[in-house]
């Protein structure tokens, strides 16, 4: 009988000191590791990038492998806002409201050319990139991006989540950055 082993990677433990029966590290790193592997994304899909995201969530690509099995369709429980598609100017206050309703800590992934920059829709009715209304952590280029690209963007977010200091969201710089977007 032919047996093949499926390669998989376990989550590496964070940097720290270990001795028999003992492992010491910083709280930031433990929390970061936990958060990174259980992100709840909120899919804000308005067009074709949303279709690519459906493939990303499907069995072939399976975003669940990265700990994001559970999509949150309520912003209250979501950690990651994934904006996929063209955002009209009329939609801009909606996307900002959704962002405000998310609890800290929260991250934003702009998927595709339209969410990142307006894409081909250089016109009076389309928002020229969601970073005009909410802070964006990672941009995924493509029109639309393939599921692999969305996964790569998601893994970049995971890196940021793992490295985030616990006090960052309380810092005056962070508050100031939010105020720059008109978010109190």
């Amino acid at each position: 009988m032919n047996t093949t082993t499926i390669p998989y990677t376990k989550t590496e433990p964070p940097e720290g000191y270990s001795a028999p029966g003992l492992f010491a590290t910083t709280l930031d790193r433990v929390v970061g590791m936990a958060r990174k592997n259980s992100l709840w994304p909120l899919p804000f899909a308005t067009s074709c990038c949303g279709i690519e995201f459906m493939a990303t969530m499907g069995a072939n690509y399976d975003l669940g492998r990265f700990g994001a099995e559970r999509l949150s369709f309520s912003p209250r429980q979501a950690d990651l806002l994934m904006v996929m598609g063209t955002i009209a100017k009329k939609m801009a206050p909606v996307i900002q409201q959704v962002y405000i309703q998310m609890a800290e800590p929260r991250w934003v992934l702009a998927v595709g050319a339209c969410a990142s920059s307006g894409g081909i829709f250089d016109t009076y009715s389309v928002l020229q990139g969601i970073d005009r209304v909410v802070p964006v952590d990672v941009y995924v280029p493509g029109c639309p991006p393939r599921p692999e690209q969305i996964l790569a963007g998601f893994m970049k977010i995971q890196e940021m989540v793992a490295d985030e200091p616990l006090r960052r969201r309380y810092s005056p710089e962070y508050r100031e950055m939010l105020a720059g977007y008109g978010i109190v």
Partner: protein, 164 residues
Amino acid sequence: MDNVYITDRLKKTFTHDILETDAGGDMLTVIVTAPVIAEVIRFLKEEPDLGFVFLTDLCGIHYPDRGLPLGVVYHLHNLGENIRIRVKTFVTLADPRVPSVTGLFSTANWMERETYDFYGILFEGHPNLKRILNVEYLDFFPLRKEYPLEDPTREDKQDRHFGR
């Protein structure tokens, strides 16, 4: 009922307000002066022998080179005999007022709002003439030719990115 009959009926009633008729092309086209447009459409709808009871479309157009640059185009349909007619009227940019046909066709309500939204044509007698598709804070009428189509705040198309 044919195009000649409809043209005669209109010309007999509205005489000098019928500026132009064209029976060539896909359907009869009539150009009338702006103040009588609602009356012409009422006539076409309510005269029993004409019977254009369905307003298929109402839209605006801008010809920047003409003396009367802003236009409104009405498409009417006689459902019983399957005859269509196109009625146009033109106004100036300085005074873009056209009587509303919302009293005749409820469907004209949103279509006139859309025409106002994109061309700034003021429909007199409209119950709720405000923007319908664009954002409320837009301070121009985007489909008029004097305004650029592109978003003026876009940064990645500046010449410096292309070595110009």
